[in-house]
């Protein structure tokens, strides 16, 4: 077994390839996953290795991509359907929320829907208002669906493999900003990270930074700065928005009694709202300060670089929030 430093997109590709080699029912479908080699180069080389049957280019038909993946999963295959970017998943929302998430329940367990919907998420590339969403919490609203959002290459690989092996539908988002960032990844083909398990990315005792995906990067950078002032942050990477690992969150909060939520997404009806509500309901006796939230500004995502960066979270905003509640 070896550990190599590879970017997240390569870790995701390893996950797909290993699971396709392991299980003939697993196949990839979506816009530009084959001939184009994947819009974000995650599926690069898979067409050549596995052929057109298992690496299926689709028309630009989000409803049919998601919906036919649901049907194929019900019938016994294990599709990994790429929706290119999460912005396009809105077109497929009915297939995901009304069908993938509800069919197992609605027919009293007669069918299972082992499908994975993959989509790139996030902003900061001047992609503007329609191509910059981070709406993971919208999807996490729907019971019956799992929502996974990795922050490192190793997590991406282990979480995607778990998603593919799961018998439940999973929406899996990949931060565009993280695709090229390298990290250590094991080539152990059975390295599966369990669904719904958070990960403490840094230990600390003064404040819990509850976060996921790209927020982990800002949180770790903030923690590094704050350490110089003697402030020890515990960075809890939730990794899954559903199921939400409240156990790990609560254990951390019992120790720190303070929490700043850090997310790339928007503030209203959000990840931050949910974490704050969970802590207020369950951890009130441990709470020494109000829960603070760091998130994108509540504006449509603009084109101009200057003002786009203004609206995004960053490490300094996390530092400021921590200092407000200490």
């Amino acid at each position: 077994m070896a550990v190599k430093n590879i970017p997240m997109r390569e870790a995701l590709r390893q996950a797909l390839r290993e699971e396709m080699l392991r299980d003939g029912r697993v196949f990839v479908m979506g816009q530009e996953v084959g001939e184009w080699q994947g819009t974000h180069r995650v599926t690069m080389g898979l067409l050549e290795e596995f052929g057109k049957k298992r690496v299926r280019d689709t028309p630009i038909s989000e409803m049919a991509i998601a919906g036919s993946a649901v049907g194929a999963a019900m019938a016994g295959l294990r599709p990994v359907a790429e929706l290119m970017t999460i912005n396009f998943a809105f077109l497929a929302l009915d297939a995901i929320a009304n069908h993938a998430a509800k069919i197992h329940y609605m027919f009293n367990g007669q069918f299972t829907v082992p499908v994975v919907f993959r989509a790139a998420s996030g902003w900061g590339n001047q992609a503007t208002a329609t191509h910059s969403h981070t709406p993971e919490p919208i999807f996490a609203h729907f019971n019956g669906l799992y929502v996974g959002c990795p922050s490192t290459p190793a997590d991406a690989k282990g979480m995607l493999k778990a998603s593919i092996r799961s018998n439940n539908p999973v929406l899996f988002t990949e931060s565009i900003a993280l695709y090229a960032k390298p990290g250590p990844v094991s080539d152990d083909e059975d390295l599966i990270l369990p669904i719904g398990k958070a990960d403490i990315k840094r230990e600390g005792k003064h404040v819990t930074l509850a976060t996921y995906a790209r927020g982990v990067e800002w949180s770790l950078a903030a923690a590094k700065e704050l350490e110089k002032e003697g402030i020890e942050c515990e960075v809890v990477d939730m990794r899954w928005l559903r199921p939400l690992d409240t156990e790990t969150l609560f254990e951390s909060f019992k120790k720190t009694n303070r929490c700043v939520v850090v997310e790339e997404s928007l503030p209203m009806y959000s990840f931050g709202s949910e974490i704050a509500a969970q802590l207020q309901e369950n951890m009130f006796d441990y709470m020494d300060a109000p829960i603070k939230r760091v998130h994108s500004m509540d504006v449509p995502f603009p084109y101009a670089r200057e003002i786009e960066l203004m609206a995004l979270p960053n490490a300094q905003k996390v530092i400021d929030a921590v200092k407000e509640i200490l």
Partner: protein
Amino acid sequence: MAKGITKEQLLDWYRQIVLIREFEDKCDHLYQEKKITGVYLHLYSGHEATGVGAIANLEPRDHVITAYRDHGTAIARGVDPNQIMAEMMGKRTGVSGGKGGSMHLASRAHNFWGGYAIVGGHLPLAAGIALEAQYNETGAVVLSFIGDGATNNGYFHESVNLSGAWKLPVVWLIENNFVAMGTRVEDSTAQTELHKRAIGYGIKDMGRVNGQDVVEVYETVQEAVAYARENGPVLIESLTYRYKGHGVSDKTYSERFGEELREYKENRDPITLLANRLNKQYKNIQPELDKLQADAVRIVEESVTFALNSPDPTYEDLIANIYVEE
């Protein structure tokens, strides 16, 4: 006259058609008596010949999927009327455990993949189920019923187009009853010959069939199934008629469409047409038809007794099957 169709087949179709009619009339009564309390109840009365004639062509390995007007389709596929009636009443013994209701009947054992309540939502599922048949080379075909209204939403376009691109073994069968909820076909599209949509997708157009004549439906779908098994998707338009409102709560339907409705009931009724055919072809068959009618009354009464005496779902049922246990 029908070639190669036996007396036994004709009698079996008669049996199914009168059973469906009786079942739906009973559902209507039970709704008025508030013994069926779910708000949505869409009756198949008038459509029977289309469902029965089409499904009669399928082998057990083949698949059936439909929208929310699904009671008759379920009966024609052989699902137990007791379990269907129990589902209407939300009982634990219902075919979907009382969790799906009238619009979500399914039986995995019968390869009856369900009724679906979002217009068009089942169409990509049909494509996906057909993809599994193609992927695993099972030789199975999918028979997908489509309401005329569904042909105007994106699911129809994307799913039929995808089936053509991938040559999926699907028989797309439009049940054109001329009215989508309350809006006439001619007010919904400039191309009122719905089968011609096939031309735009480059798939086989099998034209129009008289959906009130079970023999004509049977023969056309027979050809369609054989074609789909070998070559890929086909589209058929079955002209049929809805005897009741969109749902049982649609009170003004018979006022709006009274004259046309009378014409269908008097001159194009599936039961009358088949009874006439049988009487013309076989001497002294009326007593057999009367017996089938009496059997239908008894079977439906038994289903009501079964449903009324069945237990309600429990709290454990409420929270079961949200996810597959892993």
